[in-house]
């Protein structure tokens, strides 16, 4: 479903991604772990072209999105993204946050969009917050709304960029629960995370990145119980 071929990204003279080749299958839940500065977030942001790769190809559903003239906006409708800092729209109510894109992109009528928003709010357990503004919500609630907002576009792929890193510890669980339920429903997910527990429990596969490259990939069991790469071993010994 997602295929990255020798993906490279430079910021000025700094080479952040040094050639990533990776295939993510439909319905697969991939956790991307690794030390700070290893290029995890940059890799994720390249997948929906929030960062433009310096070279290499990304192919989504057989469609090369890195070619010139590719319809990026339509592609992004198929890929939801959840940010570390939530990025809810502060001037809109929760309901309007969720319905803005489906209505403006004419995917749904106003009443369909609202109906869908209610069912998504119910799903993330925040039905009573439809009329609230983002500032009235806790961090965990904001992130659950952000997930609902992405899901409103009925994406085929969800990208998560450290979704729990900005949360107070007691709020991490509520967000991870929503993500786990998505995972069990067969959503294709790429999750950059520091939550080793989530990677171990919910991911089908773990990708360990270091210094702009994928150092090792395997099932959670392989990576956490029996890492082969010495950098994976040293990273895991520090985070556990």
């Amino acid at each position: 479903m997602i295929y990255a071929d020798n993906l490279k990204k430079n910021f000025g003279n700094i080479e952040v991604l040094k050639g990533i080749t990776e295939h993510i299958a439909k319905g697969e839940v991939v956790a991307v772990i690794g030390p700070s500065g290893s290029g995890k977030s940059t890799f994720l942001r390249c997948l929906n072209l929030l960062e433009e790769p310096t070279s290499g190809k990304i192919i989504i559903d057989g469609d090369e999105i890195t070619r010139k003239g590719a319809d990026i906006n339509t592609l992004r409708q198929k890929m939801g993204m959840v940010f570390q800092q939530f990025n809810l729209f502060p001037h809109l109510t929760v309901m309007d946050n969720i319905t803005l894109a489906p209505i403006r992109l004419k995917k749904l009528t106003v009443s369909q969009a609202q109906e869908r928003a209610y069912s998504l709010l119910k799903r993330v357990g925040l039905l009573e917050k439809a009329g609230s503004y983002p500032i009235q919500l806790s961090g965990g609630q904001k992130q659950r709304i952000a997930i609902a907002r992405s899901l409103a576009m009925s994406p085929e792929i969800m990208l998560f960029d450290e979704p729990t890193s900005a949360l107070d510890p007691e709020m991490v669980g509520e967000v991870l629960d929503v993500m786990k339920s998505l995972a069990t429903e067969g959503m294709t997910m790429v999750v950059v995370t520091h939550e080793m527990g989530f990677a171990a429990d919910a991911a089908d596969r773990v990708v360990f990145m270091d210094d702009g490259l994928i150092a090792e990939t395997g099932t959670p069991h392989q990576i956490f119980q029996n890492p082969q790469n010495c950098r994976t071993q040293s990273f895991l010994s520090k985070v556990r």
Binding site: N48, L50, N73, T74, L75, R76, Q77, M79, G80, M81, F83, Q85, N87, L88, F89, P90, H91, L92, T93, L100, A101, R104, L105, Y133, P134, I135, Q136, A146, R149, S150, M153
Partner: protein
Amino acid sequence: MNNFLVRINEILIGGNRYKLLLSGLGVTVQVTFFSAIIGVFLGLILALMKLGDKSKGILRFPYIFASAFIDVIRGTPSVVQLLIIYHIVFRQVKGMPAVFIAIIAFSINSSAYVAEIFRGGILAVDYGQTEAGTSLGLSKFQTMRYIVIPQALKNAFPSLANEFIVLMKETAIVGYIALQDLTKAGDFIISRTYNAFIPLITVAIIYFTIIKILTKLFNAFEGRLRKSDLR
């Protein structure tokens, strides 16, 4: 005290001179109001041009144009701009009402300041908002229109209100192109009555009162804009 009231009566009511002040106020309000509306519209366009592409070939043109325009307008006195538009630009055009010319001059003048206010307001919106908008599949334009600009307006509103007030007082120079605004009307009454104190203080009080009312209205409106900031 009685004497003073008699003087006021003589100077302002006598010869129906208060009517001069009222029609002058009408001119002041007209020029301010229309210049402000056109200025905000042009200013937003200039701000977007200035925030546009700065890097590549022909696409840089809007940025260069807007920057140069803002530079020139901010770098020259508004009186000089008004006189240039009156004496040079519209020299050949017969029968162009002076009010129009004043509105054109002040629209252009105000747009430069408004552009910088908007630019600041837009830059103050976190870039994550743009990323969130585009990641949902909204186009750049839709993201600007529905996500960034509404927040930028809220950021910019206090400065915009200030610009409106500055603009109103700035229009006191339209006497230079023989337009009888509030200030010019006061001036005219001095020349007729040889009394400066009463007409000038009256004019000052009228400006102050209008601006005081406007400030109240702006504050009330700002409160409504801030609705989403309240817990």
